[in-house]
């Protein structure tokens, strides 16, 4: 019997410490080589730490949310002297740990064998995780269930994939199905009931980064927000036509690439807006390249991947890059490089864009352009009301370095470009 210590590896260039954001194992778990043990987060990227050996976890060196220095031990694994540890009766006998239990630093307790099968009443309690042998079912894997259970689920209109199985190998049992059905049905018949209890959620990882960044932006930058409406009827027509006639290998155009190109034109005349304000040093860095951050909602929270050198990309190229970055951000594969270095930012909630927003500047930038929802509104053309596709832009500026006049000129320029979209593409 030996022991293997896993230390926090060097997870990125110049990174001295990382925040532990997730434990995939708990004390007593048996792991195999390459099983992911933990996830740590550096500046913005999350890195998974795999086990290099087979063995049993006997010690965890940090709590979730704790910052760990590179090189410090985080896990100790007991390794069997002769080959991989057997994967049977012990784990079966262990009571399944409720999913909510923290990875407590309690010593690995020898759990008493499951003397009696779980009482039927257990069906109404939160469903315990599958036994250690029955690992939680990965996404996309077909649930294991007997034909009778499958038939009952089908008839009740229940998707078995939603039910964590408590049976051996994660099998969904009749009791699991009863429990699921009972919980599902309980909601409508229960009527109005007072609920007690407070759930504590630790703000860690990406969420903590977002919180810190937002607080910094709002506390340091006196925002000025300017809202203007844009008639995008012509732009939408152009976009529809381009999409209808595009080559199949090209991506479908959204509004974003057009806005990016318009932004490039507008900041060419007002370079003070495409800048980073180092307020500690009192220096404004005006950038020649236009690196446009695009706020994107991901399963983990807000991320801002960056389209680098938008000034050197044509419309299609912008669209390709926007799609690629959005996918990478959603999948969590965006690199640190792709998530930093923006000089100005666009935030758009698409159909959820509302009438007006008050965007928070992506500190230390000085401007952010917020896109609101396109709506058909009646517009007076001088003699009658005509239906036009209207969209508001809600843009915020750092009032320390951008005056209201400059902000207004900038937004009016954007408006002129977007309302006569041919102007976006005319050189000079």
């Amino acid at each position: 019997m030996g022991e293997h210590v896993i230390k926090l590896p060097d997870v990125g260039e110049g990174v001295a410490e990382a925040e532990l954001v997730e434990w995939h194992v708990k004390i007593g778990d048996l792991v195999r080589e390459d099983t992911v043990i933990a996830a740590v987060m550096t500046d913005k990227a999350t890195v998974e730490i795999p086990s290099p050996v087979d063995g049993e976890i006997i010690w965890l060196g940090a709590e979730i949310g704790e910052t760990v220095a590179v090189g410090s031990p985080i896990v100790r694994i007991k390794i069997a002297g002769d080959g991989p540890a057997p994967v049977e009766p012990k784990s079966e006998a262990r009571q399944p740990a409720p999913a909510a239990v923290e990875a407590a630093p309690a010593p690995a307790k020898k759990a008493e064998p499951a003397a009696k099968p779980p009482a039927p009443a257990a069906a109404l309690k939160p469903v315990p995780r599958a036994t250690t042998l029955g690992l939680p079912r990965p996404e996309g894997e077909r649930p294991v269930a007997s034909p009778a259970v499958r038939l009952r689920a089908k008839e009740a209109g229940i998707d078995l994939r939603q039910i964590p199985g408590t049976g051996p190998a994660g099998r969904v049992t009749h009791e699991d199905l009863d429990g699921f059905a009972a919980r599902g049905a309980a909601v409508p018949v229960a009527g109005l009931q007072a609920r007690t209890g407070v759930e504590e959620i630790k703000v860690i990882g990406l969420r903590r980064r977002i919180a810190e960044k937002m607080a910094l932006a709002k506390s340091r930058i006196p925002h000025i927000t300017y809202v203007e409406e844009i008639d995008v009827t012509a732009l939408e027509e152009l976009r529809a036509r381009l999409n209808a006639t595009k080559k199949p290998e090209r991506p479908k155009l959204t509004l974003l690439p057009f806005l990016m190109r318009a932004l490039v034109k507008a900041v060419a005349e007002q370079p003070q807006l495409n800048a980073i304000y180092d307020d500690d040093a009192g220096i404004i860095h005006r950038h020649a390249g236009v690196h446009i951050g695009m706020a994107a909602q991901t399963p983990g929270g807000l991320m801002v991947p960056v389209v680098k050198h938008a000034e050197a990309r044509d419309l299609w190229d912008c669209a390709v890059e926007v799609n690629r970055l959005a996918e990478a951000a959603k999948a969590g594969t965006a690199t640190r490089e792709e998530l930093t270095g923006s000089t100005i930012t666009i935030t758009s909630l698409g159909a959820m864009g509302g009438v007006a927003t008050t965007p928070v500047i992506n500190y230390p930038e000085v401007a952010i352009v917020g896109v609101n929802k396109i709506m058909i509104r009646p517009m007076w053309d001088g003699s009658q009301f005509v239906p036009r596709k209207m969209m508001n832009l809600s843009s915020s500026f750092d009032h320390r370095v951008i005056d209201g006049w400059d902000a207004a000129v900038f937004v009016q320029r954007l408006k002129a470009l977007l309302e006569a979209p041919a102007m976006i593409f005319v050189e000079g």
């Binding site: 049977e88 042998l133 029955g134 007997s146 034909p147 008839e155 190998a169 099998r171």
Partner: protein, 465 residues
């Protein structure tokens, strides 16, 4: 011209079609079934059932022949047996007759109206049937296509004369002296083995490098060994070229490229089966296809609303029990029940000597899916009951997931192992783990103990080896 209408019309009364009709009848659906020949389809008339009858007769004949030759280890001797193949075939025909009559009775009991004749789509809701008494037009809300499959014909060996299909082989009045079997799949080997046991000199010609190519080599080895012992000559990597000029031999290009002449008074062509998609008006309704087959979804719906397809016409595996399960499901869907195809295992049995059973995934298939597996087999040579049956060749093999021991597949080869298929399939459908099989008492002395032992061995603690 007569016209009737119904809620459900089923085209083809093979195992898929007649099960669908019976179940629909039970559920109170106004159902009509059309069949051109006899109820029971390929399976009852010219497939599963008659071939098993002939295989059994051949087994019995071989046993007594061995006893007569004094080679029986059981110490039984008797005088030389004689075979009257015409009577054997008549016996087989009586079984088929009883079963097809039985199916007709079951359909009647379920209040299903049977129409005999060749059906043809006029449009998506209307079918014309050419009956003995004239054209019958049937309008239906829902139509199930269950037209099945037919043997594939080789252009250079068209059926007729000495070239026969499996159907022809089951109706022979005499055992051929020399039989050439083109195609070493399960149909060719089942029938070829039977005729070898009845005294024919059998040569099997297979284009691929080994017989039963859909199975792995480990599984087919006992079959190849037995064929050799029975004197069946197997030419692998060989191509049939056609009949000789005189018609008394089959010309074959052997694996080494040399031309061989194989004397044969009958040539049995069993190179596979193809879906029956011609002659019934598929072109009128233009359904989406999946290769040669009709494309269906998980509820057996075709690309046209109100038209379902089941059985061999919808794809592999072309097996009667798959068609039956699909038929049952479709009847229930038509009755408004919520159903969809969720089977984990479609077992397949090959009635060669010894028999081969597969259920679920083979080790190679599981690995190809990227699953980390554990797999072990237990040989019948260590099983007491197999010894008493003179059936020590073969084994039971289990494939399970390495991480949670969920049983993914079970294969077996051995005497009489076809009857173990139900245990194999049940284990997979129930989501059994190796521990579930290992924890189940298997009756002693039976061959099923090999199943238990294979599970134990995969867990690392087999008891009898």
């Amino acid at each position: 011209m007569k016209e009737i209408s119904c809620k459900l019309l089923i085209i083809g009364a093979g195992p898929g079609g007649y099960i669908c009709a019976i179940r629909a009848g039970q559920l109170g659906i106004d159902t009509v079934i059309v069949e051109a020949v006899k109820p029971g389809g390929t399976c009852l008339n010219v497939g599963c059932i008659p071939s098993k009858a002939m295989i059994h007769a051949a087994d019995e004949y071989l046993k007594v022949s061995e006893m007569a030759s004094g080679t029986s280890p059981l110490g039984i001797s008797l005088s030389a047996p004689a075979l009257d193949l015409a009577r054997t075939v008549a016996w087989k025909d009586r079984i088929v007759g009883r079963l097809t009559t039985g199916v007709a009775g079951l359909l009647k009991k379920a209040r299903v109206k049977s129409v005999q004749g060749w059906a043809r789509f006029r449009d998506g809701k209307t079918v014309e049937v050419d009956t003995e008494t004239g054209l019958q037009v049937i309008r239906a809300e829902t139509i199930v296509i269950a037209t099945g499959s037919v043997p594939v014909e080789l252009p250079f060996l068209p059926f007729g004369g000495s070239v026969i299909s499996s159907t022809g082989a089951l109706a022979l009045k005499q055992v051929p002296q020399a039989l050439a079997v083109v195609g070493g799949g399960y149909i060719g080997l089942e029938l070829g083995t039977a005729f070898a046991k009845l005294g024919a000199k059998v040569t099997v010609i297979e284009a691929l490098p080994r017989i039963l190519p859909q199975y792995d080599a480990e599984l087919t080895r006992p079959v190849a060994k037995r064929l050799e012992a029975l004197g069946v000559k197997v030419l692998t990597g060989a191509k049939a070229k056609g009949l000789s000029a005189k018609g008394d031999a089959l010309l074959v290009e052997a694996a080494d490229g040399s031309e061989q002449k194989i004397a044969a008074d009958k040539v049995l062509v069993t190179v596979g089966r193809k879906p029956l998609v011609e002659g019934w008006g598929l072109e009128e309704i233009d359904l989406d296809r999946d290769g040669r087959f009709i494309r269906i979804d998980e509820q057996c719906r075709t690309s046209m609303r109100g038209i379902y397809a089941i059985g061999d016409v919808t794809g592999e595996p072309m097996l009667a029990h798959r068609a039956m399960a699909q038929g049952e499901m479709v009847a229930e869907i038509v009755a408004g029940h919520k159903r969809s195809w969720d089977k984990r295992s479609i077992p397949a049995v090959c009635f060669t000597d010894p028999e081969v059973v597969t259920a679920g995934l083979s080790p190679d298939e599981a690995k190809a899916l990227g699953i980390e597996i554990k797999s072990s087999s237990f040989p019948f040579s260590a099983n007491g009951r197999a010894m008493t049956l003179l059936g020590e060749d073969g084994f039971v093999r289990i494939v399970a997931r390495a991480d949670n021991h969920l049983v993914l597949g079970i294969q077996a080869v051995g005497t009489g192992v076809s009857e173990l298929s139900s245990a194999f399939s049940l284990a997979i459908e129930m989501g059994a783990r190796l521990e579930d099989i290992a924890g189940t008492i298997h009756a002693h002395p039976t061959q099923s103990e090999a199943f238990l032992e294979a599970a134990l061995r995969t867990l690392g603690h087999a008891l009898h080896i």
